[in-house]
């Protein structure tokens, strides 16, 4: 576990956390017909102490954005400012930032201690101070016992801690993470998530974290920036991203989603709409663009769907609000169903299931949902 006291002592109010602003940040690769726009005019403000995650599928431009912040890529256009100072012409070695790499990037020929001390030596830190700060950084990451090991004698998790200690010892104004946990096993990854988040929140270092793992983004971030095709689809807190996604892409990328084709009836009031779904007319929360959109879909998260057994002996069959169970899979803590309805096949998840009441394949069920958890959004979001 991390030693927060040591980490706090290391940073000791000397670190002024930075405000990072991206303005029209653009990166194009190639020329002419081969030109690819990797990052397309991104605007983003990151406040001091904020933990922002860039999330998206591979090729969405998130890593390129991070590398432009660090200075490893020259932007084709736009600005990166740190505390209102333009960083574009500042080389990476002059930017007050630190980065934790996916591969850890430890120097294989240096001991753990020398890996951590490397940056301080370049800064010509006096040797007594250097020793003290390296000790604190190692202590804060619980690495003191491993100080004289070579990197290849460490486990993946330990190497990751060295990478973190090395980043912290530089007292950066901005801390950058490039998928730092993707090489760890699932259990360690979960623990490191909590550790990084605790440490970051405690020390209040402005952080930009790149990942393609939505669970990582949801559990660590103050704000998630969902990227797709070089553009920002949505930048918001995890709960907004999950409950009120700005686009079908975001809804689909974060968590699991059912999209139901529904007919819009009327817009009742600001932010709501009345739609016909599963045989009922329901008033649901709606995206601001939804009332004006021609084509809309209703987002239903699997966990907001409720299934109730239908007494088949009374006749009935597939009525308007009824469905038939195609699959049911028991996972212990939840049951997952695929149900065929008039809107197509939808997925439902029932948590903490009563084992006797699990619906079987072929069962007819009554399908309902929590209308306040639904979200109506335009099928295609208007660009811009």
């Amino acid at each position: 576990m991390t030693d927060l006291a040591a980490a706090e002592k290391l940073l000791d109010n000397t670190t002024a956390s930075g405000t990072l602003r991206l303005r029209g940040l653009t990166k194009e690769f190639g020329n002419g017909a081969d030109k690819v726009v990797a990052v397309d005019a991104i605007d983003l403000d990151i406040e001091p102490g904020e933990f922002v995650t860039l999330l998206g599928p591979s090729g969405c431009g998130k890593t390129t954005t991070l590398r432009m912040i660090a200075g490893f890529e020259d932007p084709s256009g736009g600005q990166v400012t740190l505390d209102d100072v333009n960083m574009i012409d500042t080389p990476p070695n002059k930017r007050p930032m630190a980065m934790v790499f996916q591969s850890y990037a430890l120097f294989p020929h240096l001991k753990v201690r020398d890996n951590v001390a490397y940056g301080l030596k370049i800064r010509r830190t006096p040797s007594a101070k250097l020793r003290e700060e390296v000790d604190l950084a190692l202590e804060s990451m619980n690495l003191s016992a491993l100080a004289n090991r070579a990197p290849n004698q460490l486990s993946g998790g330990q190497q990751q801690r060295v990478a973190l200690a090395r980043a912290m010892v530089m007292k950066p104004r901005v801390l950058l993470f490039d998928e730092p946990l993707s090489n760890l096993d699932a259990k360690l990854r979960e623990r490191m998530r909590i550790e990084i988040r605790t440490l970051q929140r405690h020390l209040g270092i402005t952080s930009v974290y790149v990942t393609h793992d939505q669970a990582e983004a949801m559990s660590m971030s103050d704000r998630i920036v969902v990227m797709n095709g070089g553009r920002v689809e949505q930048a918001a807190s995890p709960d907004i991203i999950y409950r009120q996604p700005a686009s079908v892409f975001v809804a689909d990328f974060i968590g699991r989603a059912n999209f139901l084709d529904v007919e819009k009836e009327t817009s009742t009031q600001q932010g709501r709409a009345r739609v016909k779904v599963l045989g009922h007319s329901v008033d649901v929360p709606a995206h601001p663009d939804a009332p004006a959109a021609e084509d809309v879909v209703l987002l239903l998260r699997p966990e907001s769907i409720r299934l109730k057994a239908v007494d088949t002996r009374a006749g009935g069959g597939l009525g308007g609000h009824e469905g038939r169970v195609l699959f049911s899979v028991f996972y212990g803590d939840h049951v997952e169903y695929e149900v065929e309805t008039e809107h197509g096949t939808i997925t439902a998840v029932v948590a903490d299931p009563n084992v006797d009441a699990i619906h079987r394949e072929g069962d007819d069920v009554e399908v309902s949902f929590n209308a306040e958890r639904a979200w109506l959004l335009p099928r295609t979001r208007q660009p811009g």
Binding site: A70, P91, P92, N93, R95, S103, A105, F107, H109, M170
Partner: protein, 278 residues
Amino acid sequence: MRKRPVGFTLVAVYVLLIVLAVIYIFPFLVQVATSFKTEPEAASNPLALIPTTWTTAAYKTLFANSDFPLWFRNSFIVTVVVTLGRVFFNSLAGYALARLQFRGRGVVNALVIAVMAVPGVVLLIPKFLVINQLGIYDSFAGMIIPLLADAAGVFIMKNFFESIPASVEEQARIDGAGTFRTFWSIVLPMATPALMTLVILSFQGSWNELNHFIVSTQSPSLTTLTKGVAQLASGQLSQGTQYPLKLAAAALMTVPVAIVFFIFQRRIMNTTSGAVKG
């Protein structure tokens, strides 16, 4: 039942390998053995591996009555300077071609590869003309400077540097290191196996270099071992075949290269494991 064929195959393979090994090492053994033979025995019984009368007369003649010590000194100076120069310049050039972005990089790279494709003999006369033009003919400068960098070495270093993960260098950069510092304190130590290869190749290459010294020098005071021993072999000492003398010189000439090889070859196999996970 199944054991015999396997055993037989194994024996056959070993016999074949031993025969090949003997064929390979036999000339070297003959060389060493002959250097301890007397002149008549070397002529009458050239392939015998054990001399009937052991004599170190050839070695005595070599040190007392020839310029062998001078040749050795010249070779040593040239080889050490060339080896150091190649390690330094080849790694710098290799790094530049592997990692630095500059206009014309592709052209330079193509030229380096093109140089490797040109047979060295073709360049002997142009080399002589250039050396002469620069006024360094018949001097150590003329012997050393043209050998200070070689295309093959640049190519080896470039390929090795390309195999070093870019994130390690980026880490050094974001820790505050500039380009040269990143190269010197991070990349070069990680390239130890390639450097060792380069040391062996450069040492052996410049120690055994002959053509270049023929075109760049004429003064006997600048004669290197290769040139000197070649003169011995072409009969400059007159009287008789002088096999023991020539082969003693050749045997002594082999020693430094063998020493360098044994010192450095163990480190060639070291890898850069541990740099990155994944």
